[in-house]
């Protein structure tokens, strides 16, 4: 047990010595994760609302595809984006591989099905009376979208929080397309892997604590929004 305590103590010492390197890792983590959450949710939430209401041949296949996407292994997503952005790949000319942009692309791919699937479930769970009244009003999609997001606001916030949780904790995909380049594409999770591989457990623990705190702050903000939404009627 003493080994564990020694590592933890070293981790907290690292936290006190919060250097510029850790600061840049922290900001990049926040920028990439929030960007991917915003992009994935901006597409996934409206798509989830639409899919919950749409009736078309092949809908079940689309829902199944979304469910598979919710559990998509990040390394597979990373490999797919790597092939797209590789020099000889279809988007190789954009020269995005091993950049934060590539990391945002792959994490958006991971966030999207989470936001979509949870929103789909929330809208599908609306009361029949609400659904019938909404259909009766014959509103355009933008009007229905606004009402439905408001009706299932808690579900939408859960969707956004889950999407954020998925991307901020993710390591495989960003490692593949970002390359974990110090000062350029290193984020908290890849930095933890790096420190662990080199047996610098104290530093890894410190990074893990920062990751937890960051996640808690963002999710706390979403919970506050949720409580505020519940309170205003």
């Amino acid at each position: 047990m003493s080994f564990i305590f020694e590592v933890l103590a070293e981790g907290f010492r690292h936290l006190v010595d919060f250097g510029p390197n850790l600061r840049s890792i922290l900001w990049l983590t926040l920028a990439v994760s929030l960007s991917a959450t915003i992009i994935g949710s901006s597409i996934g939430v409206p798509a989830g609302v639409w899919l919950a209401q749409a009736r078309f041949r092949g809908r079940l296949a689309v829902v199944t595809f979304v469910n598979v996407g919710m559990g998509l292994p990040p390394v597979l997503a990373g490999l797919f984006v790597l092939l797209l952005l590789w020099g000889e790949g279809p988007l190789g000319g954009l020269d995005l591989l091993f950049t934060p942009t590539a990391m945002v692309i792959v994490q958006s791919m991971l966030a999207l099905p989470i936001a979509l699937g949870i929103t789909l479930g929330a809208v599908s769970g609306l009361s029949p009376a609400a659904t019938e009244q909404l259909r009766a009003l014959r509103l355009p999609f933008s009007g229905r979208l606004r009402i439905l997001i408001s009706e299932v606001r808690v579900g939408v916030l859960v969707a956004v929080a889950a999407a954020f949780g998925r991307v901020i904790a993710e390591v495989g995909a960003v490692l593949i397309v970002g390359g974990n380049i110090s000062g350029e594409t290193r984020v908290l999770t890849t930095a933890i892997v790096q420190e662990t591989r080199q047996a610098r457990f104290g530093a890894a623990i410190a990074l893990g604590i920062v990751l937890l705190v960051l996640s808690t702050i963002v999710n706390g903000g979403l919970a506050w929004l949720q409580a505020r939404g519940d309170g205003d009627g």
Binding site: P128, R135, A136, R138, L139, S150, E151, G233
Partner: protein, 213 residues
């Protein structure tokens, strides 16, 4: 002015109430009541015409109020004018006065009673300029003392338009309908002018429905 509304081969193969390829018509300025036991197909018929049933499209330009009134999150005022243009919204606010719910407009929608919710929904539905109005048991959630008064406002607001509505009350049928359709098990058992149908049921089944709807 439209000539009237003809709906043919109405089917709804779900929810237990199967409409048996019904044909019905509503005159351009006629009030037609749908009467029959629970599960007989009244709501299904309205939903199919309104296009809210699964895999259906509206059969005409309609204003439709479902059986269970529902207001979305937000102020009552924003629900009152939902889906209405400016002119219709003004009319909805006037109707809210008549329905005695104008004082509630600033309240959150989840803080008013079911009866008040129905009055708000009625004001919105009747304010629509659609030539055909569909109301599913519009007076059921209203307190008994006010039903005839609200029914009179509905009649006035739909004069010059078609009205197709479901009810369980023969008193309401007598007061507000021009024509009556008796529906059970998705089949029209009898239809015609109200007094004619009520005074001369075609068979014992219709008579028993009038006896205990």
């Amino acid at each position: 002015m439209v000539d009237g509304f003809e709906f043919t081969a109405l089917t709804f193969p779900r929810d237990g109430a199967v409409l048996d390829a019904l044909d019905i018509s509503v005159g351009a300025t006629e009030s037609v009541a749908l009467f029959g036991p629970n599960g007989g197909g009244k709501s299904s018929l309205l939903r199919v015409i309104a296009g809210t049933a699964p895999r259906t499209e509206p059969r005409a330009e309609v204003a439709y109020l479902p059986q269970i009134p529902y207001l979305f999150r937000g102020a009552v005022a924003s629900n009152l004018t939902l889906g209405l243009d400016e002119e219709e919204s003004d009319q909805a606010r006037r109707l809210a006065e008549e329905f005695a719910v104008a004082r509630l407009l600033g309240k959150p929608s989840d803080e008013i009673s079911v009866g008040e919710t129905q009055r708000v929904c009625l004001a919105r539905t009747l304010a629509s300029s659609a030539p055909l109005v569909l109301l599913d048991e519009p007076l059921s959630p209203i307190n008994a003392a006010s039903r005839m008064e609200i029914g009179s406002i509905i009649t006035r607001c739909t004069s010059g338009r078609g009205l197709l509505w479901a009810t369980h009350s023969l008193r309401e049928v007598r007061a507000f309908a021009d024509r009556l359709i008796v529906l059970d098990d998705g089949v029209i058992l009898q239809e015609g002018p109200v007094e004619q149908v009520l005074n001369s049921p075609v068979d014992a089944r219709v008579a028993s429905i009038f006896g205990s709807p």
